[in-house]
Amino acid sequence: MDFGPYLMLASLEGAVTAAVLALTAVGLSLVFGVMRVVNVAHGEFFMLGAVLAWWMTSLIGGHPALGFAVALIVVPVLVGLLAAAADVTILKRIAYDPERTIVATIGILYILQQVTLMTYGPDARPVEPPFNTRLALPWVEFSDGRPQLYWPWGLSTTSYKLGVIAAASVVLIGVWIVMARTRIGLVMRATQMDRDMALAFGIPVEKVYGLVFGLGAGLAAMAAVLIVPIQQAHYLMGGDPLLLSFIVVIIGGLGSLPGTVVAAILIGLSDGIISVFFSPTLAKILATLLVALVLVFRPQGLFGVRRA
């Protein structure tokens, strides 16, 4: 394949990765920003979203779009409620102590993973996409000094992949509007800035925590519902999103939404492009190296604000 079409294909693949990663990482970033909780179980909420999407679509039957639409709305809510319950019953009891919450969320990780293994089983199961047409893409080449369109072999994407990018963008804009323009967002930002002061002003901080933890997990679950028609639901699928989300959140700056989105696009695209031109292992090596460099030279992240 020629360089141009090759790069375009790599960028498209990278954009799908980036879209899903941005949603997942924003969830993680929100939880860390507001609650100061390092949620190691975040990847399992992602996995749970995919598994529940499979369950819901196979339960509903009929046209694939119907089951998928229901799953896209119901599954994030279900996972969010479960996460909020975990917050109230576990994290609240240990007073959000940083060390203990890490250990507790590791526990939640194993519980979710093993319960899924025991009920859903060890198989990878597919979810049918609501729509999926192959779109061949043209490329420009210059022959006789005039630009001409042609369709290179293999340069294509699917309507569903473009749909994922669009849906993720819409959700991210929605999250930004909620955070920046609504009262509930204001309350969350107040809690993020100063927990004690927020409490003094009568903000029900514990309720905000439950809400944020549920919202974070719900975003991960929504990312998983979007990706599951491309990949498949499997009980071990939470590992990669967790690792990549942490990378993104550290590079972007913990708790910074724009930073997280920019870092997700950076990591997603570079993962797509580097693994196409070189090797997927090199992409992971470079991403991890970038994390190390950011931690050394700009510990607050690219967009983070240094705390006094």
């Binding site: 060890p122 996409p129 999926n132 072999w153 293999g154 499997h234 071990l236 196409v276």
Partner: protein, 431 residues
């Protein structure tokens, strides 16, 4: 076995029990040590079954389990081995080499198994076999990897029920170069099993006057594949694909989406779609492509009575799916290996007069002495030829064409097509 009987002598114990009354009738309620006292050899033969119940090999593990259960039931219904029942002790290895070695150790030291059996994934076999050799536990793998016949392992590891990748690809190369094309791009998983494909197919196709124009290795845990496909050169005439792991369906679907209407010829190993329904959305483009099958998933027009019997015993319908759930597709091309291996173990134990772990060396020698195994209920996939020196069996291979979402066998290789010179003589190693 006698070590458990400490305080009372065998004779006095029997007397006491007889005096106690109803000893013969109450066998089940006797204390454990007394249950086998009348004849030590009525204790069951214990087969440690190393099964990929979880991890990336889980779909294979589920069907290896069902096949093993069916094969053991058939052996026991026919009177067991040397008059003793067979008991399977299954342990999950999580498709993980480190855990695999621990499981082998448990079989030998904790469960007092007579043999270890059933491992599939090559990295688990390679991780576990050295421990089996150290413990002198006969280790019957059902793995396909070339690592047994290559001499990498040891005298205690045998593969008598399934052929290895090297012999499979040697037999496939002439068909591919004569019928599909000479310029081939290979896509394979990046671990031992995939490397066997890479090394031996490249060699075999070169011998046929063909050429591998690109080799694309993909990690078996990968979930997204389109990014690898641009590496397929434009001059490619045949895409040779083999993939494993939970994402195989995604792999094949994305391959179809990448090529769209202008796909080259395709030759796949059914591993790429093992346990996957051929009717899954997105697989329509496979019509007209070819697959290697270890054993034809769809019952063929010339189905043998042995395949029919085997299908029924395991609970597989004529489309290769579970009789109780048509969506639960089997790993039909591989799992016959469990059935056949257990029958080889039975034959070996009978030939060596196997009594207990002290006879393990005799069992190995008895299996090494085996040669031709005819097509039969014991070997429903087809006739086999075992090579005692390399510990590897050779057999027929099938090439199927996808037609209307069904795989029909278009070519069956002979055993001779699959042979290659010995690379090791395990019989020269000490037992």
């Amino acid at each position: 076995m006698t070590k458990i009987i400490k305080a009372p002598t065998r004779r006095s114990a029997l007397k006491t029990l007889a005096l106690g009354g109803g000893a013969a009738a109450a066998g089940a309620s006797l204390p454990l040590w007394a249950r086998y006292a009348q004849a030590q050899t009525s204790e069951p033969i214990r087969i440690g079954f190393q099964v990929h119940r979880t991890g990336i090999g889980a779909a294979y593990g589920r069907w290896y389990d069902r096949t093993t259960t069916a094969a053991v039931k058939r052996i026991n219904d026919a009177g067991g081995i040397n008059g003793r029942m067979v008991e399977v002790i299954a342990e999950d290895d999580g498709t993980d080499p480190k855990r695999g070695a621990e499981v082998v150790e448990k079989f030998a030291t904790q469960h007092n198994c007579d043999i270890g059996f059933g491992t599939l994934f090559s990295h688990v076999v390679i991780g576990s076999a050295p421990r089996a050799g150290e413990l002198k536990l006969p280790y019957f793998v059902v793995s396909e990897g070339h690592h047994v016949a290559s001499g990498m392992l040891n005298r205690y590891t045998l593969q008598p029920g399934i052929t290895d990748v090297k012999s499979q690809v040697i037999a496939m190369a002439p068909f591919v170069s004569e019928n599909l094309g000479k310029k081939i791009t290979m896509i394979y998983p990046d671990f031992a099993f995939g490397h066997d494909h890479r090394d031996y197919f490249s060699e075999a196709i070169a011998a046929q006057g063909g050429e591998v124009v690109a080799q694309i290795a993909i990690p078996p845990t990968e979930t997204s594949f389109t990014k690898y496909f641009p590496k397929i050169p434009r001059e490619t005439e045949v895409v040779y694909h083999v993939m494993v792991g939970p994402a195989v369906l995604t792999f094949v679907k994305e391959l179809g989406e990448f090529f769209g209407p202008s796909r080259p010829e395709m030759f796949g190993f059914i591993d790429s779609l093992e346990a996957v329904d051929m009717g899954s959305a997105g697989l329509e483009f496979l019509d007209g492509t070819y697959f290697w099958e270890g054993n034809p998933r769809y019952a063929q027009a010339d189905q043998t009575s042995h395949d029919k019997m085997y299908r029924e015993a395991v609970g597989v319908d004529e489309n290769g799916a579970s009789v109780s759930d048509p969506r639960d597709v089997s790993t039909y091309a591989h799992m016959f290996g469990c059935w056949e291996t257990l029958n080889v173990v039975k034959a070996g134990m009978e030939a060596s007069g196997y009594q207990g772990p002290a006879d393990r060396a005799a069992l190995i020698e008895a299996v090494e002495a085996m040669g031709d195994m005819p097509l039969s209920d014991d070997h429903p996939q087809g006739a086999k030829r075992f090579n005692g020196k390399t510990h590897q069996v050779f057999g027929h291979q099938y090439i199927s064409k996808v037609e209307d979402g069904r795989m029909n066998v278009v070519h069956t290789t002979s055993i001779e097509d699959t042979l290659y010179p010995d690379e090791v003589d395990y019989t020269a190693q000490s037992l």
